[in-house]
Amino acid sequence: MKRTFSILIAAYSIFCGVANAARTDIVVGMQLEPPNLDPTAAAAAAIDEVVYANVFEGLTRFASDGSVIPALAKSWEISEDGLAYTFTLQSGVMFHDGSVFDANDVKFSLDRARADDSTNAQKQLFAGITDVVVVDPATVTLTLEKPNGALLFNLAWGDAIVLSPDSFDKAKTAPVGTGPFIFSKWVQGDRIELSRNTAYWGEPAKLDKATFKFISEPTAAFAALMAGDVDAFPVFPAPENLAQFDADPRFTVVVGSTEGETILSTNNKQPPFDNKLVRQALAHAIDRKAIVDGAMFGFGTPIGTHFAPHHPAYVDLTANSSYDPEKSRALLKEAGFTEGFSTTLKLPPPSYARRGGEIIAAQLRAVGIDAEISNLEWAQWLEQVFRGKDFGLTIVSHTEPMDIGIYAKPDYYFQYDNTGFQALITDLEAEADPARRTEMMQQAQQMISDDYVNGYLFQLAKTGVANADIVGLWENSPTQANDLTAVHWK
């Protein structure tokens, strides 16, 4: 054994990873395999990570910095009352099967997503839309029941991409889109292959071939990168290995931001958490630094509210729930829990939850709260926690962009019911003026922070590893996507 590992050390020094230059293909590693490839039919982030902006496009899209930019819609006009959006579409766009893209496809897609029997995972995005009118092949108008400042943003989601009525039913297994890459092959359980769309309407992709390889085990992922089986792992699952990659000249480690607010969700309706004092005690019992260091090996930005730090409207409220066990115990005493109490801590699979959970359980134990850990699969988590609301505490990262609105849903799994906040969000949705919006958002952040709705831990970092010779990969992930359009080798 000992010898084995001296071999190991020796082997490190003799690493010489010079990949041959000017390659025109790439193998991108992903931890989860998409269940299918239709972003309009399932929530799995893995779907968007493969097809968003590569195979499928919508009217608008997210840029790498998170801003919303035109995609299939060249431009748009908004009526004064903010109830009508008229989109002018790109011309000369063709689906991969050669059929021509026009306004009817847009109408078809949006109507399909809004329909009663729709199986769109983000149906609420289209909630306000009353009608979709085809003005002419290159023009389409959306009418809303009330003004919605977030419409363009909503349309940028993967769930809003445009499908053709002739090929939408193939989307799950052999997607046909308008993007710069054409789906070519799916070896289930192993990989998906894309090839360049030579007839792309916009700036064509630089790579001929892109392969997404699915590696669920972090160790395997590490091994695969080290062995050169994979060129890039945009979301590398094991932060503990990043130091090694950083030290290794063959790789660059890209640490960016995500939309994932990682929080200690608290069941606000379940005693004792219906008591604000208890929630506040909870907040002060948590040492964010320990969690970020212990669970994420230092990657991740502490947050004090449910909002992305890189967002202009973000306010740093971490001080509001600073680590202070003494205060926490005092609060518990005040709330009448001198002996502390015990509760459940239900953890989904990701390592941020599993590791963070162990650390938090230990920290809570220190102030007298005994949190019994149970590790769940996603399916069980959805059943028990998300749907059944049968939990005291849980840890989960909310990766949807700009999702502070969930706090306005009293029946959302953490069951925060504050009419004041709900009103604020309603206004926010209606408000179009950027300055006012920012103000309202900050107000909202303050509100949930002061109510200690949940324990706010940290913003999930996007820890990517890639071969040093690759350029053009997204640094941040405003949405879950691996846009390969601009990617190429040095």
Partner: protein, 314 residues
């Protein structure tokens, strides 16, 4: 002989039937719902219902059991909930990895175990015997997933002789495929070989103690001749059973190894299926594995009868 086979076939069918019911029931009570899993956090209830309807999850249990089982019999395994592709195809894709892996591992373990066992038995008490038995003890004691971890670290990450895992597909050439399966096969084979070697040894020792071996010697056969002509064939009979058991074990027991080497095999398929609540896939694969086990056991019994004339008259 024929009667015997027929009898075994009948009980085989019974086992499968009961097994299918158990599998169905167990899997049906799994908490969690494929539809809501697929639609995620922001899905609205009516959306979930719509999907359940689409997937045919709203039918009553008996109905679903019979559609499933009748499908199995006719070779139609149904459509995967999450992948929306025919389960049969998925299984086929995975089987072309799991099956060769199992066979590969079995071949390896046999190649190691037979000579080892024979040497140990014939040189009973010698240094060779002691060390072989010692190693086999070790082999049995090492958890194969741990062994796998070490294999990866040494041969894939450091020496870079093998790729760390994954499967390029047979279409990239037989040897690429074989190479990708080598480390996993070794990890699987080690404990199996150890067990097999031990069985081989003890079984051979028993046979060598039999009277007919003595009569063979009295005929003028040398020790070696006696071993090859008389002892071995008799000793193999119990060894057969173990090999049979091991094959079915390797087919299903590879689950963990497949994860370590991220091989898209049946084991991974089951884990995925369970975590995604792709019940129909899980049901079918489990059934398939049970089927494999039962059939192998049956074949072993038949092989018995072939190897041992005393059973033929049954």
């Amino acid at each position: 002989m024929l009667r015997y086979i027929l009898k075994r076939l009948v009980s085989l069918a019974m086992t499968l039937l009961v097994a299918s019911i158990i599998v169905f029931l167990v899997i049906e009570v799994l908490p969690g719902d494929p539809a809501s899993y697929m639609l995620g956090l922001n899905a609205q209830p009516e959306t979930v219902m719509a999907l359940r309807e689409e997937l045919g999850l709203n039918a009553s249990k008996p109905v679903r059991y019979f559609t499933w089982i009748s499908g199995l019999v006719t070779g139609d395994f149904g459509i995967s909930y999450t992948y929306r592709t025919p389960v049969a195809e998925m299984i086929a894709d995975r089987a072309v990895i799991s099956l060769p892996l199992a066979v590969y591992a079995l071949v390896l373990s046999t190649l190691i175990a037979f000579p080892a066992g024979i040497i140990a038995a014939t040189r009973r008490g010698s240094a060779a015997d002691v060390s072989i038995m010692g190693f086999s003890q070790l082999g049995v004691a090492i958890p194969n997933f741990w062994f796998a971890m070490i294999l990866v670290t040494v041969f894939a990450i450091n020496l870079r002789w093998f790729s760390a895992g994954g499967f390029p597909g047979w279409e990239t050439g037989f040897f690429n495929g074989l190479k990708a399966l080598t480390l996993p096969a070794i990890a699987l084979a080690l404990p199996q070989a150890s067990i097999l070697a031990r069985v081989m040894r003890s079984s051979l020792l028993d046979t060598l103690g039999e009277d007919f071996v003595r009569s063979a010697r009295a005929k003028g056969l040398s020790v070696r001749q006696t071993l090859w002509r008389h002892a071995l064939r008799n000793a193999l009979i119990p060894v057969l059973t173990i090999i049979g058991l091991q094959f079915s074990f390797l087919l299903a027991g590879a689950i963990i190894i497949e994860n370590v080497f991220f091989l898209p095999g049946l084991g991974r398929l089951i884990f995925q299926g369970i975590s995604q609540r792709d019940l129909i896939v899980v049901e079918s694969v489990v059934m398939l594995l049970v089927f494999a086990v039962v059939v192998v056991t049956f074949l072993v019994d038949v092989a018995y009868a072939v190897a041992d004339p005393r059973l033929r008259s049954r």
